[in-house]
């Protein structure tokens, strides 16, 4: 009986710990002006400048026929991808707090608490993911400008997908942070991960759905097609597009499956390294 009570009390401590660490990450994010400015300026830059600038060119001559590659404007097409970009940047950068905490001693304070390593990591990842989803939501405010009609159902569906994506990417950030000892190193390394991951995810250009597999490999360099198809972010952005503008190049469930499994695998990897560190 006593053991059951002890286990229950330990479970309550773990849950309280997750909440405490989650709250800390969220509070810190509101006080981090740099991150907030980035979260606002990034979508404006991508949607207003890149989106408007490339909007007229979002069509192509393929096999002698001029057509729009996908039945949407470029602004509509990149809108879900800009949400993913904001989540990508914020998630990975949220994980920099692991380095911060290690450098400035806070990690020790948490490590001598009754929280397990799993709880500590879950609290941090959930906190980082929440901040990333909030930054993703900032992009949703530009929906009208991008001619994307939102309904509550669409928003709810997108929020679910954004949360899964944010969880997986924050875990990826922690994996990176576990290998990096300085802030500068993290900045360089995370950019080396973020930008290639984003540019090879069909975020800013689609693989033409009108083309067959063989034609695609003729039109685009084969290596690029392979990289795009192997990039998990491709399927996450595709699922988000499906939810927000009703356009999918792949099976929408594939996106959910890949995001879910990436989240589990990356969190597991982050936990393995966090326990070892």
């Amino acid at each position: 009986m006593k053991s059951l009570e002890t286990k229950r009390s330990m479970l309550m401590i773990q849950l309280g710990g997750i909440y405490g660490l989650w709250l800390r990450e969220v509070r810190r994010s509101f006080r981090d002006r740099g991150q907030l400015i980035g979260g606002i300026s990034r979508p404006i830059l991508w949607v207003v400048i890149l989106g408007i600038g490339l909007n007229p060119y979002f069509r192509g001559e393929v096999f002698g026929k001029v057509n729009f590659v996908v039945p949407f404007t470029y602004l509509q097409f990149i809108f879900p991808a800009v949400i993913a970009l904001n989540i990508l940047f914020t998630s990975v950068q949220s994980a920099v707090s692991v380095i911060w905490d290690r450098e400035f001693g806070f990690l020790r304070e948490v490590l001598v608490s009754p929280l397990s390593r799993g709880t500590i990591l879950l609290g941090k990842v959930l906190g980082g993911a929440t901040v990333a989803v909030m930054h993703g939501c900032l992009v949703l405010l530009l929906a009208k400008f991008a001619d994307v009609n939102l309904t509550w159902m669409k928003v709810l569906e997108a929020l679910g997908l954004m949360s899964m994506l944010a969880f997986a990417l924050t875990s990826l950030g922690v994996v990176i942070a576990n290998h990096i000892r300085s802030f500068q190193g993290f900045g360089i390394f995370s950019n080396a991960v973020i930008l290639p991951l984003y540019f090879t995810s069909s975020s800013i250009f689609p693989l033409d759905p009108a083309l067959s597999q063989a034609q695609t490999r003729v039109v685009y360099p084969e290596w690029l097609v392979t990289v795009v198809e192997c990039n998990p972010l491709t399927y996450a952005i595709d699922a988000l597009r499906g939810a927000l503008i009703g356009y999918n190049q792949f099976d929408p469930y594939l996106g959910i499956l890949i995001m879910g499994s990436s989240g589990v695998v990356l969190f597991g990897l982050a936990l393995f390294e966090f326990r070892r560190a």
Binding site: G16, L21, L23
Partner: protein, 331 residues
Amino acid sequence: MSNILNSSVAIRLEKVSKRYGRTVALDEVSFEVGEQQMFALLGPNGAGKTTLMHILSTLLRPDAGKAFVAGIDVMKKPLQARQRLGIVFQEPSLDDRLSVHENLDLHGLIFGVPRTLRRQRIEELLALVELTDWTDKIVRTLSSGMKRRLEIARAFIHDSEILLLDEPTVGLDAQTRDRIWHYIHRLQTERKITVMVTTHYIEEVEKCDQVCIIDNGKVLADGAPKVLKKEFGQQLLRIVPKTDEDQIKIVTRYAERLSRIDGTEIILTSDDSFSESFLAENGARIRALSIEVPSLESVFLTLTGRDIRDKEINLREQTKAFGKIGGEHTK
């Protein structure tokens, strides 16, 4: 062997050893700290004090030996052991982007303190360390002394029975150091807890119930300050001779009692009868004379053959200082 020990012993170490590579940080360290005692671990930088603290706080695993806090084996039941401990690290461990209140509240949350109790304790403790007016201030705006006081208060948000303080006053001015010690003594008396403190400031351990002198990872002596002074302390005679010739004569005559020469001052080991006979014999040769009663400084000198502040940092200390960072060696 059982994981639970006699409850009257708050901390117990049994032949604890720890190495960093080829450097021995702790070499079969054993001692006991009784409940509600103020226990000081005294040693120079690199003696192994912080390593010992990290082992007790479950941040490090020893290579050999056992450590118990409140009767709990820290290696076998670390989560339970941590619930009994309040820890103040040598390096600050506050979140400087959160406010004073938020830091304390977060600590309460991660230690499972219910909301009502948390609020009540935060209020009480902030009043105790005189930080009530700073409740909503962001921690990075506080002075070093205030941060230290906040860290001490934080260690009491949960039901800690044992407070581990790793060099709590290092880097602080004398006035702030006094104030910190005032809070530590007050908390110990009011909450009836056991305090284990590491320090290399000898004057800070005089008021402790028990002192353990540690150097190069080994325990050299352990006991009440009075007992240590009686057992290992030396009465010293500080003499300033009138001339250089007098200095030579005294040094030659009392070579076997010579402790050291400090500029023009000769320091001889002494006792009551020697002081009298020395004065009678050499009164005309000396300009000034003072008798230094046995102190912990002299105890340290006797045990290690050097002054606690004399030690230069060498490669061994540098390796251990690396260990002090904590995160890198944390298991």
